[in-house]
C-alpha cells in the first residue's frame, strides 16, 4: 500500500496510524467518502440478499407443494433411525448418527467391528453405499432448503436419485451377502425392514423431486 497523499510505500507490518513521512492519518484519510462509496455496493449486496430471501419464501415455503417438498425431504433422514441391518439374527445396526447424540450408543451392536467385516466380500462395499446414500439424502435436504433462494430445483432431484441408486444397490448386496455369510457359518448379516422402507421412500422422493423440476418451470417463468 502507498500513502494516498505523498505516495510513500507503506509496508504491511508498519501499522502506525499516520504516514511516517507526511503524517497523513491513513485510517481516516478520505474516511467519509470511502464510506459513501462502500454504501453504494453494500446497498446492492443487501438487495441481492433480500431477493434471495424473498425467493426462498415465495418458492420454498409459500406454495403448498413446495412446503410438502421441504417437509418430505427430511423423511429419509428420520427413517434411518430404524435399524438398517440385522446382525446375528437379533441385534440391529443403525445408520443415523443422530441416534448416537442421544447417548444411546446404538450405532453398532456389541461385539461388532467394521474391521472384522473384511472377511465378508460384500459387506464393506454395501455399507459404504448406504453411507453414500445417507450423505446424498442429507445433501438433497440442504438443496431443498437452499435451492429456492437460487432458483435451483434440480440439485435436490439429482441427490435423491444418487441416494436411491446407492441404497437400492446396497440392499441388493446385503441380501446376496446374507446367503454368503450363512454358508460360511459366520454370524448372519442381512438387510433389515428399515432399509426396505428407506429404499421405498427414497424412490418416491426421487420421483416427486423429478416431477417438481418440471413444476418449478412455472416459478422460473414468474421470476
Amino acid at each position: 500500500m502507498n500513502c494516498p497523499v505523498c505516495g510513500t510505500k507503506i509496508k504491511f507490518w508498519d501499522w502506525r496510524q499516520n504516514c511516517r513521512k507526511c503524517g497523513t492519518n491513513l485510517f481516516l484519510h478520505d474516511f467519509n467518502n470511502r464510506l459513501r462509496e462502500e454504501s453504494v455496493q453494500a446497498e446492492k449486496d443487501f438487495l441481492w440478499w433480500t431477493n434471495m430471501t424473498a425467493q426462498f419464501m415465495d418458492y420454498g415455503v409459500k406454495d403448498k407443494i413446495s412446503l410438502f417438498r421441504l417437509i418430505s425431504s427430511v423423511l429419509p433422514l428420520i427413517l434411518l433411525c430404524m435399524p438398517v441391518i440385522t446382525f446375528n439374527g437379533s441385534t440391529m445396526i443403525y445408520l443415523n448418527f443422530l441416534l448416537d447424540s442421544f447417548g444411546g450408543g446404538t450405532f453398532f451392536p456389541e461385539g461388532f467391528s467394521l474391521g472384522n467385516m473384511t472377511q465378508y466380500t460384500l459387506f464393506l462395499p454395501a455399507f459404504f453405499l448406504l453411507a453414500v446414500s445417507l450423505f446424498a439424502a442429507t445433501l438433497a435436504f440442504f438443496s431443498v432448503v437452499v435451492g429456492p433462494a437460487f432458483m435451483n430445483f434440480r440439485a435436490a432431484a439429482i441427490f435423491e436419485l444418487i441416494g436411491t441408486l446407492c441404497a437400492s444397490a446396497g440392499t441388493v448386496m446385503f441380501n446376496f451377502f446374507s446367503v454368503e455369510s450363512l454358508s460360511a457359518l459366520n454370524p448372519s448379516v442381512s438387510a433389515s425392514f428399515g432399509l426396505y422402507i428407506y429404499c421405498a421412500v427414497m424412490i418416491a422422493e426421487t420421483v416427486f423431486m423429478i416431477r417438481f423440476v418440471s413444476y418449478s418451470k412455472k416459478f422460473k417463468a414468474l421470476n
Binding site: V5, I10, W15, R16, Q17, N18, C22, G23, T24, N25, L26, F27, L28, H29, F31, N32, L35, R36, E38, S39, Q41, A42, E43, D45, F46, W48, W49, F97, L98, D100, S101, F102, G103, G104, G105, F107, F108, F112, S113, L114, G115
Partner: protein, 505 residues
C-alpha cells in the same frame, strides 16, 4: 488549529446517512463464517488430560485455578491496552491478525503436549508437564481475552448503522445455529466409536487431529475476516487515559445498569437440570428429547426479530428474554408439584414432565433469536451512549467489555464450588446415583428449577431503570453521526497541520 476547529459547525457537515448499509457481501459472509468458526470447539481439555496427557488431577486443577485467577487479573488491563490502540487498520482489527498465529501455535502446542511428554503412570506428576500445561493455558487465556474483546468491539464498529448491526448479528447467529452443532455431533460420534473399539484411532491421534483441523479452519477464517471487514466508527483523537474507561462506566446510567444486572445475575446459583433428569426421571437424554423437536423454531425465530422490535423497545425485549427462562422454570415447577412433593408429585413422572417441558421449550425457542441478539445490541447502544455523553467522544469498548466479563467472573469463580455444597446440604448421596431418597429428589427438582429462577429474577430490577428509550436512541444516533463526521474532519486537520509543521522544519 483551534481556529479551524471552531469554524467547523455541525451545519456545514454533510453527515452520512445512518439508515444506509455499509457492509458488503464479502464482509457479511466473512463475519458469518468467522462466527461459525468461533463456535467450533477444539474439545474438552479436561477430558483430553484424562484420556491422553495424563497430568495428575490435583496438578491439573491447580493449573486451572492459577489460570482462573489470571483470567480475572488480565481483564483489568486488556481492555485498557485495546482502547489505547490506534493503527491504520483501526483499533480492533490488528488483534485479529496479531493474535491469529500465536493463538494457533499455542493451541496446537497445548494438544500436542501428549506427544512431547511421556504419558505413562510414572510421569503423571511430572513438574515439566505441569509447567508446560500451565504456560499453554496461561497464554491461551491471555490471547483469547484479546481476541474476544477485539471480536465484540469490531462488531460494535463494523457499521455506523445500528439497524445493520442488529441484522448482521441476527444473520450470523441464525446461520451458526444451523451448522455449529454438526462438528460436535461428528466428533462425539467418532469418540464413541473409538472408545467402543469400533474404529481404531488412538486418543492422542483423535485429539490432535481435531485440534489441527479446527485450528487451521479458525486461523484461515480469522484472516479472511480481517481482510474483508473494516472499522467504520471513528475513534476519538486523544487516546483515552486509564481512568477514562472506568469513569465512563460509572458516569453513564445504562452502563451502570448493565454491569449491576450482570453482577446480580451471576449469583444465580443452580443445580444442573441434568442431575434432576438422571436422579429423578432416570434419563440423561430427557433434556435433549424435549429440546430437539423445538430446535427448528430456534432457527426460524431470528426471522421475527424485526417484527418484535417494531412493537417493543430494546429495553422491554431485553427484560423479557433475559428472564423468560426464569418464568418458564417457575411455571414448570408449579406444574411439577401437582400431586404433592412426595412420590405422587408430577415431577417424578417422565411423561407428565415431558408434556410440561416440551411446550415450554417451544415458547423458549420462539424467543431464541431475540434472546441472542437484543442483549448484545443493548450493550452496543450503551457503548454508543457513553461516546455520546463524553465531551471528547471517547469510546471505551475495551474497558467496558472486560469490566462486564469481570463482574460475572468475580462472582461465578466464587460460587462455582457452591453447587456441590448445596447438593450435599440437601442430603444428596454421591455414592447412590439414581437411587436418591424422595426428599432429595424433590430438592433436586426445586434446586434445578426454582432456585435459578428466583436468583435470576433479582437481576431484573436494575433493568427497569435502563434509560435508552426509542426517542433517546434516535436522537443519540442522529447527533453521533454528525459528531463523528466532525471528529474525522478534526483529525484530518491535525494530520495536515502536523505534516505542514514537519514540512516547515
Amino acid at each position: 488549529m483551534a481556529e479551524t476547529l471552531r469554524e467547523l459547525d455541525s451545519a456545514d457537515v454533510n453527515a452520512l446517512d445512518i439508515s444506509k448499509r455499509y457492509v458488503n457481501k464479502k464482509g457479511i459472509i466473512a463475519f458469518i463464517l468467522y462466527d461459525i468458526a468461533n463456535s467450533i470447539s477444539t474439545g474438552d481439555f479436561e477430558r483430553f488430560n484424562t484420556d491422553a496427557l495424563k497430568l495428575k488431577a490435583s496438578m491439573f486443577t491447580l493449573a486451572n485455578t492459577i489460570v482462573g485467577i489470571w483470567d480475572i487479573i488480565n481483564d483489568t488491563f486488556t481492555g485498557v491496552i485495546i482502547d489505547k490502540t490506534r493503527t491504520r487498520f483501526g483499533k480492533f482489527r490488528p488483534y485479529l491478525i496479531a493474535c491469529a498465529l500465536p493463538a494457533a501455535t499455542i493451541g496446537l502446542l497445548k494438544w500436542f503436549g501428549c506427544y512431547i511428554f511421556p504419558t505413562d503412570a510414572a510421569a503423571n506428576a511430572s513438574m515439566a508437564k505441569f509447567i508446560f500445561t500451565l504456560i499453554c493455558l496461561f497464554l491461551s487465556e491471555t490471547i483469547g481475552t484479546f481476541q474476544n474483546v477485539a471480536k465484540t468491539g469490531l462488531l460494535a464498529t463494523m457499521t455506523p448503522n445500528p439497524e445493520e448491526r442488529i441484522w448482521l448479528a441476527a444473520r450470523s447467529a441464525q446461520l451458526s445455529a444451523v451448522v455449529d452443532n454438526i462438528p460436535g455431533i461428528i466428533i462425539n460420534l467418532i469418540y464413541d466409536m473409538m472408545i467402543q473399539n469400533k474404529i481404531k484411532i488412538s486418543y492422542k491421534g483423535f485429539y490432535t487431529s481435531i485440534a489441527t483441523v479446527v485450528t487451521i479452519v479458525s486461523v484461515s477464517l480469522s484472516l479472511y475476516f480481517f481482510m474483508n471487514v473494516r472499522e467504520r466508527v471513528v475513534q476519538s483523537i486523544e487516546k483515552p487515559k486509564v481512568k477514562d474507561g472506568f469513569i465512563s462506566i460509572f458516569r453513564n446510567k445504562p452502563m451502570r445498569i448493565i454491569l449491576l444486572s450482570e453482577f446480580l445475575g451471576a449469583f444465580a446459583v443452580s443445580v444442573s437440570k441434568n442431575d434432576y433428569y438422571i436422579d429423578v426421571l432416570g434419563m440423561s437424554s430427557f433434556g435433549t428429547l424435549t429440546e430437539v423437536p423445538a430446535a427448528p423454531v430456534s432457527v426460524i425465530s431470528y426471522g421475527w426479530i424485526n417484527a418484535m422490535r417494531k412493537r417493543f423497545s430494546n429495553k422491554s425485549l431485553w427484560i423479557l428474554t433475559s428472564h423468560m427462562d426464569a418464568v418458564i422454570n417457575i411455571i414448570a415447577f408449579l406444574f411439577g408439584i401437582i400431586g404433592g412433593t412426595g412420590e405422587k408429585g408430577w415431577y417424578n413422572q417422565r411423561w407428565k414432565m415431558f408434556f410440561i417441558l416440551f411446550p415450554a421449550e417451544f415458547v423458549r425457542k420462539t424467543f431464541w433469536g431475540v434472546k441472542n441478539v437484543i442483549p448484545g445490541e443493548v450493550l452496543y447502544e450503551s457503548i454508543d451512549y457513553c461516546e455520546w455523553k463524553d465531551p471528547n467522544g471517547i469510546r471505551n469498548e475495551g474497558v467496558i467489555l472486560t469490566a462486564k466479563g469481570l463482574m460475572t467472573k468475580l462472582v461465578s469463580n466464587t460460587t462455582g464450588s457452591l453447587k456441590a455444597w448445596i447438593k450435599s446440604l440437601f442430603g444428596y448421596d454421591y455414592y447412590s446415583s439414581g437411587s436418591q431418597s424422595q426428599k432429595v429428589k424433590f430438592s433436586l427438582f426445586a434446586l434445578s428449577f426454582m432456585l435459578p429462577a428466583v436468583m435470576s429474577l433479582i437481576s431484573v430490577f436494575p433493568k427497569f431503570f435502563y434509560n435508552i428509550t426509542p426517542e433517546v436512541r434516535a436522537q443519540m444516533y442522529s447527533e453521533l453521526q454528525t459528531r463523528r463526521e466532525l471528529v474525522t474532519l478534526r483529525k484530518i486537520d491535525i494530520s495536515e497541520e502536523k505534516s505542514g509543521e514537519e514540512g516547515n522544519v
